[in-house]
Symmetry: C2
């Protein structure tokens, strides 16, 4: 296989992988029921708990992030359970679709795409109907570049109403602060190809005491994503099904690097690069999707596609002429925005390259600032 | 991360990875919604169909093999559906547990571990009860080293009764002949870490016309493993959820290598090494679990643990003193056997090393031939 030329990959996952992590993943295969694997799974699980800032149980699943979200639903709910789900984008919608596929009786609170979820609306909904068992929320909506106020939402859902809180943290955990225990989030799911600087293919999920209690009576069917079997097998240093050993090698080194950098520094780096991205984009005369930067995501920025620009041609020229791969819009924003990912292994120079490329390409596709 | 010393890894998956495949997996990440990925997923899917010997639809899932088996069940059945499941080992049992977790009304036909499933017993069961909708069977039972007669079983299930046939081909596909169309198997699931010479983390599933028909009315809940969304997204060269890009690079080269070697040669190599393994083990005065080699697996050999031998000490000495990693027994055979994997990237010398090691270690742990 001829080696591919690296691109400036600015999708919000997969993200570029640091060379030493790529190298770590080339370690030889081992028996996933043997002592070497036991050491590997125990180390990475403990380090992940540090990144999740939790003492809760935590499991590594061989799946995409959606697998962790499916695990959060099917392990805690029964068909017919009343669930309040707040959504303001494609991934919020996906979380809803997932719970409905398993028979949850879901109330879908839809917020404007590009705006944050309103915690007070959640309070009112919970006040208005005591039958809700759980609330589902997306921490960072990848499709719009909005970080939702999960801390405030958790205070209401957990502190005021004592409901179960399920959090999609796929594009936030390891990039943006999400102290799982301090905020009291019950089920939190994320994935390897975002903040963790490794390829897609692993998902991580934490589950609280209240989550385990719910699990006792939860009747949604589950097998591959059953956390009870994950718990049983992890007790002996194994996983229920053959795990992705190569990615675990990468994860192990990635976690060493993240903890060595320090979580506050990791968050600080994302915040500073996020701000730099938004400032630079605005300087070019482009508009952000978010009306107010107070809720702008520090892992991905959504930029309005200028009306004068041919979006397809723009994305294609950025990729083929400038070697910069941006993400398009999703769902109802497909034609209205483009997105710049700045998460995981990202430095300011990566974004500078994007800005230089935008300066070259935009005038060629009809943009007038 | 310090580079680990390769072991002679003789578990029946994960298997050692050829160097050029390891190298292919170090290619840079790409956008999984972009043109490079489209080319990759289309190429690997088409080549997998060649290895499956099928014109059926086929999907690559980011999961362990059990994920493909879950997909085969939840996409074709409804809770309460009558299912006939033949099992003669840990993995047959797991397939049953999975279907029961989703509410199948399952009849578990148990055969002796180390013996093949009897096709005539399946015929009788189907004759005795016309209400069965599907039959589930394991092609190669990894826990016992037995290859079950799926061709004969398929003739009965499909040819005589027209029922749906779900096949666990995790440790057979790509090692042992399983011409999916010629044998008329509806749902066939397998995984990356067995015959395909890449790490664990991808699962492959084929689905027939009859499978799609069943899917129309199948009411088991599904989201992550929903093949309808896999179909919709593959039509535009994508996957429903972020796929394991690194493993797909490895898979792409692995499929090139398998098709270049030729499937008949791949099967021939496994058959010859399987025979060599059994002959060598018998030469040492050990006993095979299978009473009759006509149904012995050519991907894994189960050897009876001699009564005089301390099994734990034996396995540990093989690993630490000889660098040979064998697999233990599973389920009710945990203490009674050890297993030698010979699948995927395996040559005669790998087995020779095992035999040399056995000759050294066995006398030290109490074995008298």
């Amino acid at each position: 296989m001829q080696k591919m030329t690296p691109q400036n990959l600015r999708t919000p996952g997969p993200t570029p992988i640091p060379d030493d992590i790529v190298e770590a993943m080339t370690n030889p295969m081992i028996n996933h029921r043997g002592p070497e694997f036991l050491a590997l799974i125990n180390k990475t699980t403990e380090q992940l708990k540090q990144v999740f800032m939790t003492k809760n149980d935590l499991y590594i699943l061989t799946a995409s992030g959606t697998g962790a979200l499916e695990a959060s639903v099917v392990n805690t709910l029964s068909p017919g359970d009343r669930v309040l789900a707040a959504t303001a984008g494609s991934f919020g919608d996906r979380f809803c679709d997932l719970a409905e596929a398993y028979g949850a009786d879901l109330t879908r609170m839809e917020f404007e795409w590009g705006r944050p979820i309103d915690p007070d609306a959640i309070r009112k909904a919970l006040q208005g109907d005591p039958s809700y068992k759980a609330v589902m929320v997306t921490h960072n909506e990848t499709s719009t570049g909005v970080t939702h106020p999960v801390e405030e939402i958790a205070k209401i859902v957990k502190g005021e109403f004592g409901k179960l809180l399920l959090v999609d943290a796929v594009s936030s955990l390891g990039c943006l602060p999400l102290p799982v225990d301090a905020w009291d989030c019950d089920l939190v799911g994320t994935a390897s190809q975002k903040g963790f600087m490794i390829p897609p293919g692993l998902a991580f999920i934490s589950i609280s005491e209240a989550g385990w209690e719910a699990q006792q009576t939860a009747k949604m069917p589950r097998f591959y994503f059953d956390l009870a079997s994950a718990k049983r097998t992890l007790a002996r240093g194994q996983t229920p099904f053959t795990p992705n050993v190569a990615l675990l090698y990468g994860l192990s080194l990635a976690l060493d690097k993240m903890l060595e950098e320090g979580l506050e520094n990791v968050y600080g780096r994302h915040a500073s690069i996020g701000q730099f991205t938004r400032d630079s984009v605005l300087d070019l005369g482009l508009e952000l999707l978010v009306a107010d930067q107070s809720y702008a995501s520090n892992s991905v920025t959504a930029v309005k596609m200028p009306a004068s620009v041919d979006g397809k041609k723009f994305m294609s020229m950025m990729r083929t002429d400038q070697n910069v791969v941006l993400a398009g819009g999703q769902g109802k924003l497909s034609d209205d925005i483009f997105r710049i990912g700045h998460l995981g292994h990202v430095v300011k120079d990566d974004i500078n390259e994007v800005i230089v490329a935008l300066k070259k390409v935009l005038p060629e596709v009809g943009f007038k600032s």
